[in-house]
Symmetry: C2
Subunit: 342 residues, 2 copies
Amino acid sequence: MRITIKDIARLAGVSPATVSKIINNYSDVGEATKQKVLSIMEETGYRPTHSAQSLATKKSNLIGVIFAGKINVDINDPFFVDIVNSFKKTVGSLGYDLLFFSNEKFQATDDDYLARCRYYQVDGCIIISGDELQPSIIELDRSEIPCIGVDLVLSGERSGYLMTDNYKVSSKVIEHFYLLGHRSIAHIGGKKGSPISDMRYNGFIRALGEYGLPIIEEYIIRGDSFKEQSGYNVMKKLLSLPEVPKAVYAASDLMAFGAIRAIKEAGLRIPEDIAIVGCDDLDACRYIDPPLTTISQDKEKMGKLAAYMLSDIIEKNLGTSSLFVEPELIVRKTCGAYIKDF
Amino acid sequence: MRITIKDIARLAGVSPATVSKIINNYSDVGEATKQKVLSIMEETGYRPTHSAQSLATKKSNLIGVIFAGKINVDINDPFFVDIVNSFKKTVGSLGYDLLFFSNEKFQATDDDYLARCRYYQVDGCIIISGDELQPSIIELDRSEIPCIGVDLVLSGERSGYLMTDNYKVSSKVIEHFYLLGHRSIAHIGGKKGSPISDMRYNGFIRALGEYGLPIIEEYIIRGDSFKEQSGYNVMKKLLSLPEVPKAVYAASDLMAFGAIRAIKEAGLRIPEDIAIVGCDDLDACRYIDPPLTTISQDKEKMGKLAAYMLSDIIEKNLGTSSLFVEPELIVRKTCGAYIKDF
DNA sequence: CTGAAAGCGCTTACAG
DNA sequence: CTGAAAGCGCTTACAG
C-alpha cells in the first residue's frame, strides 16, 4: 500500500541503502544516480516514515512541550502561549516539530514526564513553569533528556534555563515612580513562596534601598494569588490605611486590574490620586480605563532563545547555561507620565 | 542500553510475543504468567517504545493540530488556544497526544499537510480555520486521514466539522436590541468573503427580517478585518451620518473596542447615546469601560465535541457529520440592560 | 495458553 | 561509488 524506500530503490535500479544515503544527504553518492533517485522520489511523492526512521536512528525530531505545575492542565495561559508560539517558529526552522503531552494519560505515576519523553524518544523538552512543581519534573531535569526551563531553574547536566530578570522588573518600576517624584511606594505582592513573585518582591525591597526610599511595612502586602480578586482585596486594605499610598506597584496585571476596581469604587482617580503599575502586559492593559502602565517581558525573544539554547544542548552537547532577559517598561496612563522616553 | 521487550521476556522466562500480549491486554494469557510479567515490568520500569509500536501497528496515537490559513504561523490566537485546550483534555483521556506541526519545515510544497500527516502516521487531525485556506487543506480533507474542522466546512469521506451557529449569533444580538426597544440597528461587519463574517452578516440580515426590522443600507458597513482599527474606522463613518445609529452590532470584540474608542472620541456616551454589542467574549471585554456586552462561543464544549467526533471517525469509521453549537449572549454594560435574564 | 518467525520501513557499519 | 545484511523494538498471524 504505502510506498517505501524499497519501491524507490527498485524503480531506480539501486539498493535501499543508496536511496537512504540520498535522503540523508550523504556525499559519497554518484551525481547521476542521485539525480535519478531524486526525480523518482519527486514523481512518486515518496516520503520516509517517521517511526521507521526514529526506530533506526533513535532520534525523533520531536520536542516535548510541558507546562509544569498544578496549572498544568491548561495550555491557554497567555504567557505560555506566547512563549510557545515564538519557540515553535524557531525550533521549526531548525527541523523539529512539537509534541504536547496530555496530562490525562500516564496518570498512573502522577505524570511521569520522563517516561513519556523516553516513550516518544523526544530529542529535547521545553518546560514552562506554573509555579507549583511536580517531582517528576526534577526527575526529568536529572535525566539524559536535554531540557530547557522557562521561569524555572534547572540544574541537570543537559539542562539550561532562562527567565526575565525579575529583579530588574521591580527596579524599573521603582525607577519610574522615582522619576515621577514618588517617595512612598506600596507593593501588592504575589503569593509568597512562588519563585517569580518572591523575586519581584525581593527586587522591590532591593530597589527601594538603591533609590534611598523607605520600606513602609504597612504598604507591602502580599496576595494569595496573581488573580484579579486577590489584587482587589489587597488594595482594599491599602485603601483603609490612615495614609493611603499614592503609588502602587502590583506584581501582576490581573492584580492591578483588581486594584483599579477597588480604587474606582473608593471614588478615587487614577493617576491623580493614586498611580499604579502592573506587570505582564496583557492585551487587556490597552483596553482598561485608564490604560495600564506595566512591565513587559520579551516573550518573542525568550521563545527564540529557548529554541537555540535547546538545540545547542541537543546538537553540541553543551552543558548547563542560564540567561536573564531584560524586561521593558510600557508607559501608558496610570502613572501620569505620558512621555514615551521613560 | 534501553531496556526492551526482549529483556522483560528473558527475565520472566517467556517469549516476547507473550509480553506483547500482556502489554496490549489480550485475554488469552495465563493469569500466573501475566502477574509475573507485570511485576517485572514494574520493577524494571519498562516502557514500550513509540516508534517500534507505531511501525508495527501503523497507528501512532498522535493527533495532528493544524491552524489553517494565512494566520497559520501564530498559535496564540485566543479562540484557537481555548478550543485546543479543551480538545486536548478530552482527546488526552482517550489516549492520544497532540502533535503541532511547524509550518517552517516542509516549506517546499507550501505546507504539505497531508505529507506530514502521513510521515508521522497521525491517527487524525483537528483543523482550525483562520479564514484564508490553503489548497493543501483540501487535499488533506479528501485523503484517508480522519479530520475534523472547526469553523471550517469539511466534506471528505473521513471528515466532519463543527462550528458555532453563526446565524444564531446574529439573531441573539438582534433579539437583545429588540427587547431593549431598538428598531434601527447598525452593523459593523467583518471582512467580506471570510466565511464566518459572511455568516454573521447574513444572519444579521435574516434576523432583521424575522423581527420585522428595517434594513438600513447606510447602517451596514463591512470592515477590512476583525481588528480594532477596522472597527474604529467603520464607526467613524457611522458617526458621520446625518442620523447616527443608537444601536450597533460589531462582528468582533476587537472591532467593538475600536468602535468604543471612536464613540468616546466623539464625546458620546455608552450606552446612553449608543448601545453596542460585540462578538467573541475576549477576556478584555470585562475590563474595558464600560464592560462589553457580547456573544460567547462555547469553546469548552466545541473542543470536547471535536475530540469525540474525531475519535468516532477514527475508531468506528463513521462518516461525515456536522454540528452547530449554540452561542450565548453575555450581558454586560454597553446596552443599558443590567438584568441577567436576557 | 505459549512461542517461533516474519514483518513493519528505515539506517549503518562493512565489504567490495 | 554501491549493495548485502543485520539491526532498531515492537506486533501479528499461525502452529502447537
